[in-house]
Assembly symmetry: C2
Homo-oligomer: 621 residues x 2
């Protein structure tokens, strides 16, 4: 029944051949890869204001422009830097690969850990922000914010388990729709101002001095506008020929769009000084002032919501792919490399959903609460990736390498400074979680690798072991023990089977006292077999300990290194409730015995028939 439910939700299994990649050009590559970066416009500006308004009131809108300019400067630098990564990693240059290639395992694993944290936060922040847009337009939904977020994440999970492809063109449309909506709003907003409209000014009184700490804190929030910029460089092989060129084009157009939308909304906010918070999200409030509650207002709200959910969806393909690559290298559990029935990396998708739901619930789906954790992971991976590129130039040299090294080096330097700024200003607002979590993850990943190396070393065959299979062995080296509880069809079947695999069989019984032991022996003698029966007495009602003790005792003719096969008879019943009616000592005994070297556990099932059939037919009387 559970299986049928799973089929219904996830769909029928797909064959491996279905795993052919769709390739895209600039037109569709742009919206698909850009949704994460572009959607940041929905929260980055607003989160800057959140820091500034309570401190400096209306002056915040002036400072917003300055901070936006700094962030756009960073954007341009990152675009130059990553355009060089694209050129050098035509097979995809995620921070994990670039850092591992050029800076070594520790840096690579650190980038992997930072990116993993980042993906989880992308889901949590994007979904929370998306729902904030909706609840800003429809206030009655506000009490259900967390619930709506959780349901959306679960839908994304199911969709991705079914194997939604990021590459589907439908996924590109919301990005264009969002761009259209925001640009329309910018144009309409400025036209409305020209025509003499004066937006209402909020009455904000708190006035504190503008301090560097305040500005850096606001800058840290603004840095979230740059998350997702690296997506293009990961996806180079997904582009049509010539991939490198197409990818670079997309990266540059992406930068221009983020520049336009982020810059544009920041300027517009100066003239429409809405206060995000209680009255809802900044974009939605501005849209209401500009369009009233007309169709365009709902269009802005809907497209903003949609692009944010699309942004969350990119993490659902990015995270599982990243950790599957990490897992293939042995730094995370191998199950993460396995594709599910629908060819998606199911385990990764489930892990991502669980963690992001946890975050959404803990932080009550408030972007402002989550933002403190967000940017730091991204910027750590930026820094590692750029440093990697810098080292690459220094090591490999090549044509014209010095200016290229300077670009990546400067990129690494600036993003490293951003990491420090974010870590300090946001430490108490959640960044400390990430700061402690990443080293813990790195430690765990190295431990995992160590384990896999140790396992593969132990599994490696030595040349002399290759030819061992067909060597004739002493017939008595194959010991078989059949534990029996009572004499019935099941135990007789097990003894019969034992005889076919060895001439060295014993039956073994644990009785509570001599009386019940004698009863067993009496019945056993009726079987007329030459298999000896060993009876041990145990006041405890367990079979494993007496059996192991017997094997180790002098009584048992067993040479160290011989194999012992223990045959466990088992009923296989037909329905779940019948299963409740039999004790599961078999499972327990199997688990205990398998802890011991040289013991093979053979489970011999006896298929039981339907109760009704047995009771009706005289066959079993």
């Amino acid at each position: 029944m559970i299986r049928r439910l799973k089929r219904f939700i996830i769909g029928r299994p797909l064959k491996n051949e279905a795993l052919a990649d769709e390739k895209y050009g600039v037109l569709w590559g742009l919206p698909i890869l850009a949704s994460d970066a572009i959607s940041s416009v929905a929260y980055a500006g607003q989160e800057i204001l959140f820091i500034l308004i309570p401190a400096i009131g209306l002056l915040a809108y002036n400072q917003l422009l300055g901070i936006a300019a700094a962030i756009i400067g960073l954007l341009i630098l990152l675009t130059l830097s990553y355009s060089q990564t694209i050129e050098n990693y035509p097979n995809g240059g995620g921070a994990y690969i670039v850092a591992k290639d050029n800076l070594g395992v520790l840096a690579g694993v650190s980038a992997g850990a930072a990116l993993s944290v980042d993906y989880v936060l992308t889901v949590a922040v994007s979904v929370s922000s998306g729902v904030e847009q909706i609840t800003s337009a429809f206030a009655p939904l506000r009490p259900y914010t967390v619930l709506i977020c959780v349901v959306l994440i679960l839908l994304l999970m199911v969709g991705n388990l079914r194997g939604i492809r990021e590459s589907s063109k439908i996924f590109g449309i919301p990005t264009y729709a969002f761009m259209f909506a925001i640009i329309s709003m910018l144009i309409a907003g400025f036209i409305k101002l020209k025509s003499g409209y004066v937006p209402p000014t909020s009455d904000i009184k708190t006035l504190e001095p503008i301090t560097l700490v305040l500005l850096l804190n606001a800058f840290s929030n603004g840095c979230t506008a740059l998350t997702g910029v690296e997506a293009v460089s990961n996806a180079v092989p997904n582009f049509k020929e010539p991939p490198t060129k197409n990818a670079r084009k997309v990266l540059i157009i992406l930068a221009i769009i983020v520049f336009t939308l982020f810059g544009g909304t920041s300027i517009l906010a100066k003239f429409y000084p809405v206060v995000p918070g209680e009255h809802g999200a900044m974009l939605v409030q501005m849209a209401e002032l500009i369009f009233d509650r007309g169709p365009m207002f709902y269009f802005v709200t809907a497209t903003t919501f949609t692009i944010l959910i699309m942004a969350a969806n990119t993490a659902f393909s990015g995270f599982p792919l990243l950790i599957s690559v990490v897992a293939k290298d042995g730094y995370s559990p191998r199950q993460l490399t396995m594709r599910g029935d629908r060819l998606s990396y199911s385990n990764g998708i489930i892990v991502l959903s669980a963690l992001s739901i946890l975050l959404v619930v803990l932080f009550k789906a408030k972007v402002t609460n989550l933002i403190g954790l967000y940017a730091i992971g991204v910027f750590i991976s930026f820094t590692l990736s750029q440093s990697g590129m810098f080292m690459r130039w220094v090591k490999n040299k090549g044509d014209n390498w010095i200016p290229k090294a300077i670009v990546n080096g400067f990129g690494a330097f600036v993003t490293a400074i951003a990491v420090v700024i974010i870590a300090i200003t946001k430490f108490h607002q959640g960044a400390f979680i990430v700061v402690f979590l990443i080293p813990i993850l790195v430690y765990a990943m190295l431990k995992v690798k160590k384990h896999y190396v140790a396992v593969s070393k132990q599994l490696r065959l030595k040349p002399e072991e290759m030819a061992e299979i067909d060597v004739e062995r002493d017939i008595y080296s194959n010991h078989v023990i059949v534990p029996i509880e009572s004499i019935n069809k099941s135990s007789v079947r097990a003894l019969r089977y034992a005889k076919t695999i060895s001439d060295n069989v014993i039956a073994f019984n644990v009785s509570i006292d001599e009386e019940s032991g004698d009863k067993i022996r009496e019945k056993y003698d009726m079987l007329n077999t030459d298999i000896p029966l060993i009876i041990k007495y145990s006041p405890f009602r367990k079979v494993v300990d007496p059996l192991l003790k017997f094997i180790e005792s002098a009584e048992y003719d067993y040479k160290k290194g011989d194999m012992i096969t223990v045959i466990l008879p088992q009923f296989a019943v037909r329905s779940w409730w019948h299963r409740l009616l039999h004790n599961h000592t078999r499972v327990f005994i199997e688990k205990e015995l398998l802890k011991h070297k040289h013991i093979v556990v053979s489970v011999m099932p006896l298929q039981l028939k339907d109760d009704k059939f047995v009771l009706k037919s005289g066959k079993y009387d």
Copy 2:
């Protein structure tokens, strides 16, 4: 770690020899067996008033006396009836045994179901009432009523899992203390009245006519005073010589005590007309009027609480014992016959705790809510037990059988009428749950028995099967298949083992495509073994289906009825977190294959060494 926690809570395992029964005489037998019946005094009178006061105001106290008289009449009848049961069942005559012996399986199973429900309710009602006494004296505790009840039940559970014996004499003291407290209160109460004290009269205005329905409803509540009277007849073998005589003595003294305490408090309530409910339990309120808040007040409260918890505790030995007897007869899951490490019937104890916690939570630990469910189960078992005794006299005759048959027959008749009264008056107040639950339980118990009969029929050996074990079999009838994922020490070990148990071995591999299949074959050829390797291709990433398909195909030389052994190599890792790093396909494959006839699954563990050891020593390089 979990195991260590269990040890800490439950204690070290005990040997079977520790299971020697303590025998008791009249002095200690009385308090130990009587706590359930005597403790009913704490709620039975009060629950009668709960029905009457809202309808007829102060007249309730007069009617209370009448109803108490009727119940005491019933008590006398039951004492006579059960005294005859004791005489005839010196090995213990619970309702289940008496009804099954004399009325057949259906009646026995019905009594078993009714008693099981009764035991669960004894715990829920007694603990709820006990806590009500405490919260009556200490009002600030009232909001935590449910929590306190749950904690108390969990403590009783742990105590009984550790193997507290009901027979411990310490358990007798609270009963005597309670008797002493209530009798002191009765005496002090009447002396206070003689000395001219006039208790405050509550101002109750509601006045409705006294109807038969009202009185019967109140009577139904009062019937709960008789729960626990049957305990003595169950426990006859636990008495010192002469057991029958001692048990009868105890039963009669018990009846006298219940008579005194229940009758006495009912009369006292007429003079101290307290209103149970918001201001707390009846006994506690009366104690406050009589003793003020002096030491005797606290003594009454404390002993009432304690005897109620002791009463709940009797269910913790009664219920597991009952269902273990039922399980031995095959009417409930066999696991219930197994004693735990501490020789208590752990499964029964856990089931009882879980169900009674469920009731306490659902009914908010209010005795008044639970009382509607309580008496009916007890009275059904009274009726079945007395009817069984009646049939016994009619069938077996014997000396002077007619008056004895009349006593039991009249007992059955009267309790049957009580069942009907309770079922009708309490139907909407919860009795309907029990009325529907008992037939469902009976149906389930009969189904369980059917299953066990069907299983034992299938396990029964026919004479010709007895001598089958040592028959020589065709060497090729023993097929062995070793599924291999890759060529390593573990798979080579499995192949080597396969060779020792059969000459008819194949290796089996499922590859995703030809490329990986060729790689496996190339490596396999280096092993130089004569075991053939079969490679199948499957686009799905599963091994079970291709394997089963292969076995059924003409390609495989397999005659129906031959055994196939499938050998599954497995790593055994050393720590729980290492276990997370390997997929558990083995468990899944084993489960799937065991559904098929004639397949034996052999699990071959490879014990992995500690990572550090492997990585340090050069041995594995």
